[in-house]
Symmetry: C2
Subunit: 255 residues, 2 copies
């Protein structure tokens, strides 16, 4: 049974000053005690990076003159680790990472700082949720924040098995257009990306990454398909990377 | 059937000047055409980070007066992406990342730059292997390089299914003490880590991460158990993070 006033840690990868974490924290405050611990600057596509060779600092961060949370000069993983291990007196009941500005579906999951913050929470034994809004344009985080609260309430009630986190993607459409919530699997879509080769003012070559997500995975039970069809997507993910089918097969190979 | 002179891309996360990649490249040259493309400096624990907001540069790197490979001012993932997409005329037949100085077993896999370089190769559709030597002390990479070559030959012959890479960990003992090669699964061991809170010369607080791997997973078919018992560990891993058991269960939840 969840307690009346659950403690909820909120983090992200867009940085503590991003509008997405502000919308999320304000909505989650309606259901419990929120503490915000997040990177001090944008940390997208950092994957599950951790800082080992440098010290970390936690600085109080104020928004509109009021204390909002702790800014960490590290990665999303660092922020969650430091919050749970050092800044909080007791472990939180739940961790929510987001709201990310941009989708974290398909292969993007493994590059995502938003997801890695929630993964770290799960590794530390705390039920964790990553939330992303699937637009790179001007975002409106209000509905995504409401969905995050709804899912957070269900997770607090039901719990999550050890080693499992939820990756939530919310379509960037108006609440009226949302068709519902769908439990999905990670799409097999990958990035078709390439580097633009350019010349700097001194005529030295440099490369700039660009690309687009290519959906080869056409079935409708994926995260990608859900958000394209205006469903909120919830994917249960885990960090045991073993391919068990191949594990059984390879045991019979001659080494 | 593999071609006579396979093209093999070698990368790592310890940086192009690390002894591990030098030992690996020299050994792999015995079986094919090697091209080395690796980060210009140490990139451990960067996870699957990619560089999107900055340009990348590739600089020719010389070792003992001879051209050794291309140094990239980015992450291991960047190096593999840039090599395959821009620097090589055709995709390599195989990618090997390593030899990492230090184990990449259990939960360390998800923080590992060595593994993420091989993961990126797999995402790009190329059979890929990550190789690590399980010591943080003074390393001798010779036997690990030989094992890497052996496994590389088997992978070239047998191929790997789409989306699967091999994570190889070699115990840091003499060749005589090695008991064999074992196909394993990722151990469920996690890091029990904490932050040391210290004061800088100006009396400001800072935090430094430290910790140790705690093996709660006692079965003997794990990567961790294999290397502890002097077996070379080969774990087939994949990047579809969906927890399919939970996926089926959660479909029945009321949302």
């Amino acid at each position: 049974m969840p307690r009346n006033n659950p403690k909820i840690l909120v983090s992200n990868d867009d940085g503590i000053d991003a509008p997405g974490i502000y919308a999320l924290a304000n909505e989650i405050k309606k259901m419990g005690d929120v503490i915000v611990v997040a990177p001090d600057e944008q940390q997208s596509a950092v994957g599950h990076a951790i800082t080992m060779n440098y010290p970390l600092r936690a600085t109080k961060f104020y928004k509109n003159g009021k204390f909002f949370g702790y800014a960490i000069d590290g990665t999303p993983t660092d922020a969650v680790k430091l919050a749970v291990n050092s800044l909080l007196k007791e472990p939180p009941d739940l961790i929510i990472s987001g709201i990310n500005h941009g989708a974290n579906t398909a292969i993007s999951i493994i590059y995502s700082g938003t997801v890695s913050a929630a993964t770290e929470g799960t590794i530390l034994g705390i039920p964790s949720i990553a939330v992303s809004l699937t637009t790179y344009g001007k975002p409106d985080f209000r509905y995504a924040a409401k969905v995050a609260r709804k899912i957070a309430n269900i997770v607090l009630k039901k719990g999550l098995p050890k080693g499992v986190l939820l990756n939530v993607n919310v379509p960037a459409v108006s609440e009226k257009e949302i068709k519902g919530i769908k439990v999905t699997r990670q799409s097999k879509a990958t990035w078709d990306d390439w580097f633009e080769a350019r010349r700097d003012p001194n005529n030295k070559e440099y490369f700039w990454l660009t690309g687009r997500l290519v959906t080869k995975d056409k079935s409708d039970d994926t995260d990608q398909a859900a958000v394209e069809n205006n469903f909120v997507s919830i994917t249960p993910i885990q960090y045991d990377l073993t391919d068990y089918e191949m594990f059984e097969k390879m045991k019979k190979w001659k080494w």
